[in-house]
Symmetry: C2
Subunit: 215 residues, 2 copies
């Protein structure tokens, strides 16, 4: 008497992984689950069930649940940094145009890939100190792009950023603005009143006003 299952029972119905390789299916399912419910309360069983596999199979592709989180955050962050650099470098030499191009690229990305952005920005804290470091480094790099634009605009006299007590704190300003652009991913919804395009225009307008762009 064989222990084999009778062949009539289909081996795996594969509920949610279309035809992607398993690693990609796991990544996608993890993004979705982490975004909806948060890293600590999503279990390995949840993720694997969502892509039609069982718990143990995760460990054929990732060393641990932590490594899975780091993998998806790091790749998202690296891609974001690339997008930001590219947007600025292709925007000519006017700091106002650079700022507009940056904001546009940043906001549109956070609308289009809002799930990825949500996870990358909200769940870092669960990574151990080692892994969190290069993510923070990348964030600082992005912030410094903005600081650079503001500095250049101030020197060329085409931007007039706010000052407190007669001093301009461009780093604080850059952080405040970036916070705002990042949080787009927390309340933008694809089918809502505003399109990605309109979101981008709104935020570009606000950024130019906040930075005091001369007409």
């Amino acid at each position: 008497m064989s222990k084999r299952k009778i062949a009539v029972v289909e081996s795996t119905p594969a509920p949610d992984r279309d035809n992607r390789p398993p690693v990609e299916a796991i990544r996608a399912a993890a993004f979705q689950q982490f975004a909806e419910r948060g890293y600590p309360v999503v279990t390995v069983r949840d993720i694997m069930k969502a892509c039609g596999l069982t718990q143990g199979a995760l460990y054929n592709h990732f060393k641990s649940k932590d490594e899975l989180l780091h993998d998806i955050i790091a790749s998202t962050q690296a891609e974001l940094e690339r997008v930001c650099q590219q947007a600025v470098s292709g925007a000519g030499s006017d700091p106002r145009a650079k700022l507009a191009a940056f904001v546009r690229a940043y906001v549109m990305r956070h609308c289009r890939l809002r799930i990825e952005a949500l996870v990358a920005n909200r769940e870092i804290s669960w990574l151990d100190a080692e892994r969190v470091r290069d993510i923070r480094r990348s964030r600082r790099a992005i912030r410094d792009i903005v600081v650079g634009i503001l500095t250049e605009g101030l020197e060329k006299g085409v931007l007039d950023p706010p000052q407190v007590d007669g001093r301009r704190d461009l780093k604080a300003l850059a952080m405040a603005m970036l916070d705002q652009w990042t949080n787009v991913s927390m309340w933008y919804t694809p089918g809502g009143r505003m399109s990605e395009e309109q979101m981008a225009r709104l935020y570009v307008d606000m950024a130019l006003r906040a930075a005091g762009a001369k007409a």
Copy 2:
């Protein structure tokens, strides 16, 4: 032979609860822990150890860990709503002054009570749907104050908010600005380069610019 402890050993050294009643000590410890590490990973044992008690004692003051979270979030949120209303009502009739007063009060509060604000804004999602509802209602109420100010300023001709495609979406603008002011609590640090006062001035300036305040 008595089972009583010898009186030389102090009964409870009370590590972190000064002379406050236990309920307040628990609230304070919970705020601190939730802010630093997040609701799902903070255990009841952690909280109670932080105020010199043991696990079981929590349930003399709160029905569950969930109720504790709701208690501290709801009280913080209610107080915030009150502060916002008060700031606006005491600022005269000029919408620009109202906006400035609102931003000033909102930002300074998020600097001074940053731990409470952090928890109230980041950990809502762990509450069950029932409890989360009145928190969201309060948030909408606060947003509507801002929408009201912008609307009035537009009608009186002293504000000129950004428009996309010829239309002004004041609700979206209000949400975008509120996001920014709320996030102050995520990166402001008490001993840092900027004081609460300076933070408030920076954000008031940015808000007036973004809303297009006429000189």
